[in-house]
Amino acid sequence: MVIKVYGSMFSFATLRVLLCLAEKDIDFELITVDLASEEHKKPHMLALNPFGQVPAFEDGDLKLFESRAIARCISLTYAGKGTDLINSDPKKAAVEDVWLEVGAHKFDPAVGTLVWELCMKRFLFGQNGDEDIVNEEEKKLVSMLDVYEARLSESKYLGGDSFSLADLSHMPIIKFLMGTEVKRVFEARPHVNAWVADMLARPSCVKVFGVPAY
């Protein structure tokens, strides 16, 4: 029975799960949830995700929500298939976890307003972002990427020498930001730039987004 992902190509969290499945060479069916008509808040979707969000995930009898939990589950269940996304050495896995958490608790909030101005406003209201706000918010991205630059000068990927869930979980938002004016902040930092180029050239990225993004 094929894995089902309920979500939208416009949802970073959904893309996180699709990239994970692509890395693991696992077939899936994307059941599109129409975010614009608030389908994710309707009863049939609340039954799959009580927080009224996407994605939701089904693998046989297993039903899950929360993209990072889904990605972790896929990585553990299908260890040995496709790319290994969690290091088998517990100490290395712990460092990968640190940067997965950094992505969730530091990076995502730091770029939240940028994403709203440059992505959501257009998607939801057909409006352009406010330049003043974008310029102000870019400073948060600068501070964040200074830390990432220092980290990535120590190791090829965030968690260490191997690509892991820590890197993958950043891919959807970074792919989007690289298509906007703030890509200059990534490009100005050589290790960050190389890391981004590496990730966006991965076959999983090509598979999910159709064409190489960078």
């Binding site: 927080f51 297993l62 929500f65 929360e66 990072r68 939990a69 517990p90 712990a94 976890d97």
Partner: protein
């Protein structure tokens, strides 16, 4: 007794630090709590930044490994000591692990943001002589209410968030909820919901958490 190799850096009052402390206590892992004076900006000094590049607490060391981000630290502790103290905090079989991870992400993504803002505004702002932001309080209380409604429904059919056993998914809620229930006038957000109230009562009276609260009030 030799100094324990496990070191936690930061004040027990910090919600993130207390998350790590309660996990260590649940697992019966000896540790040393190393004070970091935030008033003296010790967390922004170069020696500390080497451990935690964002200049935040906690930082954690165990033998040759240095970690940060409280939930990552806790996962490492549970993985390293599966048979010590409370078992199964992160689950032993794949289905249970998945459920725990799901509800831990719910805590991390849905519960933590509004409850952290409320904790800061209602508990720490005045201690730091900062003015409370009424609009922010109202906005985040509304968000938290929606999350607690989901929890109320979940806990109707499940003793704990991930299932019938206490797990890290429950534990992760202790720090912020303790402040909101104990140190603000918003306790009724939790206590007025029958199942949430029952759940809070059970998890907050665990021995390990009571010890952490004692450390915070010392």
């Amino acid at each position: 007794m030799a100094t324990p190799p496990v070191k936690v850096y930061g004040p027990a009052l910090s919600t993130a630090v207390s998350r790590v402390l309660v996990c260590l206590l649940e697992k019966d892992v000896p540790f040393q709590l190393v004070p970091v004076s935030m008033a003296k900006l010790e967390h922004k000094k170069p020696d500390y930044i080497k451990m935690q590049p964002f200049g935040q607490v906690p930082a954690f060391q165990d033998e040759d490994i240095t970690l940060f981000e409280s939930r990552a630290i806790c996962r490492y502790i549970a993985e390293k000591y599966p048979n010590k103290g409370t078992a199964g905090l992160f689950g032993t079989n794949p289905l249970v692990k998945a459920s725990i991870d799901q509800w831990l992400e719910a805590e991390s993504q849905s519960f933590n943001p509004p409850s952290s803002v409320l904790t800061f505004q209602l508990v720490f702002a005045s201690r730091m002589k900062l003015k409370q932001d009424e609009a922010l309080i109202k906005q985040n209380e509304a968000k938290l209410v929606k999350v607690l409604d989901v929890y109320e429904n979940r806990l109707e059919s499940s003793r704990y968030l991930a299932g019938d056993e206490f797990t890290f998914a429950d534990l992760s809620h202790l720090p912020n909820t303790q402040y909101l229930v104990d140190k603000t006038d918003r306790a009724e957000l939790f206590t007025s919901r029958k199942n949430v109230s029952r759940w809070w009562s059970e998890i907050s009276t665990r021995t390990a958490w009571k010890k952490v609260v004692e450390m915070q009030n010392a």
